[in-house]
């Protein structure tokens, strides 16, 4: 029996999806740290032990920012993997919006989960997970409590999406005594604006699925749906979409 392990080595977290055929056996997540190669080996061993799999029966497919660092049988880009992963989770989806640690992307796929078109942010961090993380830190808030803090808050418009300039802007707003919840709501809106702006450059089709590190925030999802003027769904496993897609891809060959 051949098992497929997808390893999505992101800039902040590395995600693992262990599959057997089209069944997910296990999902794991760990901070990427500085040695992705070692981390991937460790978790692969652990998963093998837990599920009683011999290492020689495990096919590893790596994706994400650190895909070349991982010792894998093959490497596939996160664009292809996110499309396949989201397609696995929800076959009705034709557009994926993924906001990761340092990359945001909008992917349009067909009925088989194959990529038809995509767009990625340029090399700056505007609107990425890193941007949101920096703003949260500046305001002494955490991602885990973000949804609770911004609930019912009227967003203050943040005019800059450059991570560095937005930080000065947020500090300026704080100095003027603006409400923290309202500033944070503004940061959420700015993040959604940036992703919606990116998606305006491809043909967004039918159901949109929100994946990546920020997908677990209901506030970001709702802001995105509002900007796009269409339904945006997500899945509990959305953060693992890249890893699941890699495992699916590995299981194909």
């Amino acid at each position: 029996m051949i098992y497929s392990l997808g390893v999505d080595a992101g800039s902040r977290y590395t995600k693992f999806a262990l599959m057997s055929g089209d069944k997910i056996l296990d999902l794991r997540m760990a901070p990427s740290g500085w040695n992705t190669k070692e981390l991937a080996q460790e978790i692969a061993d652990e998963l093998c032990q837990k599920h009683g799999i011999s290492r020689s029966d495990l096919r590893i497919t790596a994706t994400g920012y650190g895909r070349v660092a991982v010792e894998a049988d093959s490497a596939v880009t996160e664009i292809t993997c996110h499309a396949l992963g989201v397609h696995y989770l929800n076959p009705d989806v034709r557009t994926v919006i993924d906001i990761g640690g340092q990359d945001s992307k909008v992917i349009v796929c067909d009925a088989d989960g194959s990529v038809v078109d995509f767009i990625m942010n340029d090399k700056c961090a505007a609107g990425t997970g890193k941007f949101l993380e920096m703003m949260l830190e500046t305001l002494g808030a955490t991602f885990a409590t973000l949804d609770d803090v911004v609930r019912d808050a009227v967003p203050i418009r943040i005019t800059s999406t450059c991570a560095v300039f937005a930080e000065s802007e947020v500090i300026g707003l704080r100095a003027k005594g603006a409400d923290r919840a309202e500033i944070l709501a503004g940061v959420v809106a700015a993040t959604a604006d940036k992703a919606a702006g990116l998606s305006a450059r491809v043909r967004v089709a039918d159901t949109v699925c929100f994946s990546g590190g920020l997908a677990s925030s209901e506030a970001v999802r709702a802001a995105l749906a509002e900007r796009l003027g269409r339904e945006v769904v997500t899945a509990p496993e959305a953060q693992y979409a890249g890893a699941i897609g890699a495992a699916v891809k590995g299981g194909m060959g």
Binding site: Y65, T77, I79, T80, D117, M120, D122, K123
Partner: protein
């Protein structure tokens, strides 16, 4: 050695040897430095001078350029100017005349600064391709010929120009013979090899030498065994000029298993597809008619580029089009939307636009994007 630049001793061995090589040429023939494929080499050759492309394509001199030019200029202009300013370009150093052209606003201003240290002649390029513009460009070429006569104390007759038209056409034919080998499936040569060939030709001197090296390349590539293994995805590369600093785009495509089979660029097929009409004796008119058809985004409209790309997609069995724009290269970046429409709708071929500069910092991102594009084909 007195005519070497003051910083010569501090140069690397390869740069020193490049200087000595160009110095040797400069002893027998005046060098005219050019930046752009719109400059008619035929006239420079008719004046007995050697046209040679000046240095660009490197980010080591960009900081020096930014002391005079805005930081948010395109890297090609900043690099060209930086080389001139720092004295690190042998071709610039030995050039008796620099020929500019009004292809973009950045270059126009750059030539004003350059003119402070060297004789610079700027060819006023029209921005449309109608009959009035052809006549205007023909007149600009006549003015350029007069300037060459003045500087080099020669007389340029129509016969001399006609002779060079025929010789330069031969060079273009020789190049075509090599780059058209990439029509084979799988291609007989890689995009990297295509780039090296085009780049070498823009910085080399001598008609016979050019013909000979094209013959050698043709021999070498055409004798290769027909490729085995998986057929690479065939890519047409277009956009702003590819230089040594942006060859990373070709590297990213080819290391992901694609093959660039056609480079629709200034260091590429763009200036070499069309020949100058050798039958019509009005040499300035025929030169103007050929050069005005170079499908640069500085022209409006620039339908010729879409038409060429459409034809080459069919001729070279292209699977996908990669459009590389340099940061702040407004006209090419703006034209990308039109091109995307045409390539994806009319030609039903996948298309991607990437923007980059002369640093190597974005290689990871470029690589992800281009690999994903190839995975999509």
């Amino acid at each position: 050695m007195s005519d070497l630049p003051s910083g010569f001793e501090s140069f690397s061995a390869s740069r020193k040897s490049a200087f000595l090589e160009v110095q040797k040429i400069a002893e027998t023939q005046p060098i005219v430095g050019t930046f752009c494929t719109f400059v008619p080499r035929e006239l420079i050759l008719a004046a007995g001078a050697a046209p040679i492309s000046l240095c660009s394509g490197n980010d080591e001199v960009i900081a020096a350029a930014e002391t005079d030019l805005p930081v948010n200029f395109c890297p090609l202009v900043k690099s060209s100017y930086g080389f001139a300013k720092t004295g690190k370009c042998p071709h610039f150093h030995f050039a008796k005349l620099i020929v500019g052209e009004t292809t973009c606003d950045g270059k126009k201003k750059m030539f004003e600064y350059m003119g402070q240290g060297k004789p610079v002649h700027v060819i006023h390029l029209p921005q449309m391709t109608d009959e009035e513009s052809v006549a205007f460009l023909a007149n600009e070429f006549r003015k350029f010929a007069r300037r060459l006569e003045e500087i080099f104390s020669v007389t340029i007759t129509d016969e001399m120009v006609a002779k060079q038209i025929s010789l330069v056409n031969d060079e273009r034919r020789a190049l075509q013979d090599v780059y058209r080998l990439a029509k084979s499936d799988p291609p007989l040569l890689s995009g990297k090899e295509l780039f090296v060939m085009f780049n070498t030709f823009t910085t080399s001197i001598g008609h016979e030498a050019k013909l000979a090296s094209a013959r050698v390349l043709k021999e070498q590539y055409s004798s290769r065994p027909a490729g085995a293994g998986p057929r690479p995805k065939r890519i047409l590369l277009t956009g702003s000029p590819i230089t040594k600093a942006t060859v990373k785009v070709i590297d990213a495509i080819e290391s992901a298993g694609g093959s660039v089979v056609y480079i629709e660029g200034c260091v590429g097929s763009r200036p070499n597809e069309l020949l100058v009409d050798e039958k019509n004796p009005d040499v300035y008119d025929v030169l103007a008619r050929k050069y005005i058809k170079i499908a640069c985004s500085c022209m409006t409209p620039n339908d010729g580029r879409l038409q060429t790309i459409g034809e080459k997609i069919d001729e070279y069995h292209v699977d996908g089009v990669v459009d590389m724009g340099l940061v702040a290269c407004h006209t090419f970046n703006a034209e990308s939307t039109l091109l995307r429409e045409y390539v994806t709708k009319t030609k039903s071929t996948p298309f991607i636009h990437v923007e980059t500069d002369y640093s190597q910092a974005d290689f990871g991102q470029l690589s992800t994007r281009l690999s994903a594009f190839l995975e999509m084909l």
